[in-house]
């Protein structure tokens, strides 16, 4: 691993008067101004710890997520890959280049180890979060990598939900990496370099960019907006809610011995949800608000109050109808109608070009972390697919994945180590 940060390296080059560095240095200065605003100490998110970062970390502005198929069947090769990825992730999240010679320090006749597009950029709060899909454990009924019998019970095959239009090439995957950063170039650089390290053992199955967060995961953050123009994340489970995190997000201890390696981990649900934004834009403001159950301006519940006032689903208007419609998204998704369950949502807006029919292929890349998708995701999604008019009329799920996210890594360890050692 290169020991110098990408910024330090460039500063040195600049000071040495290397001509080629001048152009880079200019770009570097531009980014530095941004970095300063955040304060250098805020550039990086701690990589090692009991839990993986990128879950309760205050949601960064950009996403690049990729799912991989493992193309080797060799257990040792898989373990080596996880070690290599862990090492690279430690460097990347610290704002360093990958490999011992980085992007420009290697032999001139060899391709550089690091791809280089993040030179001059700081880590921009990059986090890399790793997870294992059901097909890593078994495929077509046969165990893989000696992991037969190790697949956690909560790592189910998600059922078909009414209205799903899942595309094979956007669904599933043996491994997943979620890269979040305040700088899209940094997030893409991380995924690209991990994919590169994986060549020969993995191939990218699908990858998704998200250009803007649709959730806040900390009370220190402002609530952002999704592509329907509504505040999203208002009543999310947040980093400060330790009790809720333990009750709904982290996998508790005391389960089956074969699943002890997941203790302190979580399950990541990913759904690529196409939003019919053109049709939405032709919908009246009143209807839009009624579909969500909140006001567009402030995000207050239609039963009254301000953004963080609790919704009152029984409050009625003069017409004796409930102020928050029975089929509104907030009502259908609220814990009081879902057996009390909560989830930590961490989604991103996306647009992937256009659909060939004159519309943007846009939507919300939904990400949620839950302690058990059987209780904390599937029932709610089923209810939405049936009763939530927003879902039925304006959304279509086009991609899907469910992954077991193991707990965090200690120095010298690697992601998911417990699965391979215990």
């Amino acid at each position: 691993m290169s020991q110098v940060s990408r910024r330090g390296l460039l500063s040195l080059a600049g000071a040495g008067g290397v001509g080629a560095a001048a152009g880079l240095a200019a770009g570097f200065l531009g980014h530095d101004a941004v970095a300063e605003a955040a304060g250098p100490a805020n550039d990086t998110v701690a990589f090692y710890g009991d839990r993986q970062s990128g879950i309760t970390t205050p949601a960064q502005d950009r996403l690049h997520m990729a799912a991989f198929d493992v193309i080797t069947e060799d257990r040792a090769e898989l373990i080596q890959l996880l070690k290599d990825w862990t090492e690279a992730a430690a460097a990347l999240t610290a704002g360093r280049e990958t490999g011992s010679t980085g992007a420009v320090g290697g032999p001139a006749d060899a391709p550089p180890e690091d791809t280089g597009e993040a030179l001059g950029l700081n880590a921009a709060r990059l986090t890399l979060t790793f997870g294992f899909g059901p097909t890593l454990f078994e495929k077509d009924g046969t165990g893989r990598f000696g992991l037969a019998g190790r697949r956690p019970e909560a790592l189910i095959d998600l059922p078909h939900f009414p209205g799903d239009g899942l595309q094979e090439q956007r669904t599933g995957g043996d491994l997943v990496v979620q890269a979040c950063s305040d700088d899209p170039q940094v997030a893409v650089h991380a995924i690209r370099n991990l994919a590169r390290i994986g060549f020969g053992k993995t191939r990218v199955r699908w990858s998704q960019l998200g250009f803007g967060r649709t959730s806040s995961t900390s009370r220190s953050q402002q609530t952002p907006r999704n592509l329907f123009g509504f505040k999203d994340g208002t009543s999310n489970v947040k980093a400060e809610d330790a009790g809720l995190l333990d009750a709904h997000v982290w996998v508790p201890g005391g389960g089956k011995a074969t699943e002890a390696w997941m203790e302190g981990g979580s399950y990541l649900v990913a759904r690529r949800i196409r939003m019919h934004i053109e049709i939405w834009d032709r919908t009246s403001l009143r209807e839009q608000e009624s579909l969500i159950g909140r006001t567009k301006a402030e995000g207050a519940p239609l039963s009254g109050g301000t953004e963080f006032t609790a919704p009152d689903f029984d409050a009625k208007g003069p017409d004796q109808e409930t102020l928050i419609a029975r089929d509104s998204h907030v009502r259908v998704a609220h814990p009081s109608h879902n057996n009390g369950v909560r989830m930590l949502r961490r989604g991103y807006n996306f647009t992937d070009g256009s659909d060939g029919l004159g519309h943007l292929d846009a939507g919300l890349f939904f990400i949620a972390f839950v302690k058990d998708p059987r209780t904390h995701y599937v029932p709610m999604q089923l209810a939405m697919a049936r009763q939530d008019t927003l879902s039925v009329e304006y959304l279509q799920h086009t991609g899907s994945g469910l992954f077991a996210v193991p707990p965090g890594v200690r120095p010298g360890g690697f992601f998911g180590e417990g699965l391979f050692t215990a």
């Binding site: 078909h160 009414p162 209205g163 019919h276 089929d327 519309h359 089923l382 049936r386 008019t389 279509q396």
Partner: protein, 316 residues
């Protein structure tokens, strides 16, 4: 709440598909009332098309509000008659279809499938208001929840236009499905008789019909096996256009420019759709080239924008 047609609560998943070409209007026409409707909507069927000029013009010097209210009440009454007429034809057509299907007379059933469903598609938002009936009658296989029983038109569709490797239904399964289809459709008729329509519901319903075209028909998703999406397309447009024509007197008074714009956008879409007419019906979706689909989609969007302003223009 400004629910689209009636009560959103009850709405079930996406809509259905479409059908025959017997001009909606023709029928309607026969149905008495609505001279207006007749004219324009009629365009519908593959046939004609030219939108008609509005019949009545708003009354004279009554106060604006009172006049508008009267126009809107008349419109609601006319549209109710349209719905009634379509449901009656749907019941009759469904009985014939169900008989052929149950008898194993597949060729006849196939030929009745799309034309009969057009009556459903024309009034789809009304039918969707009955949350339990819509899924029973019109659920696509992709809309099923795990373990949910599949009944209705699309169940029959798969059997009639079977994909490779499909295990056909038995005679008794067909009989049960056919019986249920007729019973549910008769239930629909009973219930639509008690529905109260208002001008805003007409306007929103028109928009919703176009939305259905944009997300389900122009993409070829509705009729997975029969590929008769263009029948549905035509019927949705018929239903939207009928609502527009019926609302025209109020619209003319409040926003004549929008009326003109809608006329030209409906006409352009109808002209393009007519190019794909074949015999009594239409080309199958799979016969369209990507360029042709894109053209239709662009015209649907062109109409969808002004159509989305119809409700606010007539209820203002």
């Amino acid at each position: 709440m400004n629910a689209p047609y009636f009560d959103r609560q009850s709405r079930a998943p996406r809509g259905p598909a479409a059908r025959s070409i017997t001009s909606a209007l023709g029928l309607v026409a026969g149905a008495v009332l609505l001279p207006l409707v007749l004219t324009s909507c009629a365009g519908a069927g593959v046939g004609a098309g030219a939108p008609a000029s509005p019949a009545g013009s708003p009354a004279g010097n009554v106060s604006g509000d009172a006049t508008l209210q009267k126009l809107n009440d008349t419109a609601a009454a006319k549209y109710s008659a349209y719905v009634e007429d379509q449901v009656d034809q749907l019941v009759a057509g469904t009985k014939a279809f169900a008989a052929a299907f149950a008898d194993g007379n597949a060729a006849t059933a196939r030929s009745l499938y799309a034309p009969t469903r057009m009556h459903w598609e024309r009034i789809e938002p009304v039918a969707e208001a009955f949350g339990d009936l819509d899924p029973k009658l019109d659920l696509r296989q992709a809309d099923l929840a795990p373990g949910e029983q599949w009944t209705g038109w699309h169940r029959a569709e798969k059997d009639l236009f079977a994909p490779a490797g499909y295990q056909p239904m038995t005679t008794s399964e067909r009989a049960v499905l056919a019986k249920q289809l007729v019973a549910d459709t008769e239930d629909l008729r009973r219930r639509t008789r008690t529905v109260t329509l208002t001008a805003d519901k007409l306007g929103n319903g028109a928009k919703e019909l176009l939305d259905e075209v944009a997300t389900g028909k122009v993409t070829g998703e509705e009729e997975t096996w029969s590929h008769t999406d263009l029948w549905d397309f035509q019927a949705n447009v018929d239903g939207a256009r009928t609502a527009f024509e019926i609302l025209r007197p109020a619209l003319q008074q409040n926003n004549a420019g929008l009326a003109t714009e809608l006329d030209s956008k409906f006409a352009a879409l109808q002209t393009e759709l007519k190019k794909h007419a074949k015999g009594d019906g239409f080309a199958y979706y799979g016969e369209l080239t990507p360029v042709q689909v894109q053209k239709l989609a662009a015209l649907v969007d062109a109409l969808g924008e002004p159509l989305s302003r119809l409700t606010s223009a007539v209820v203002q």
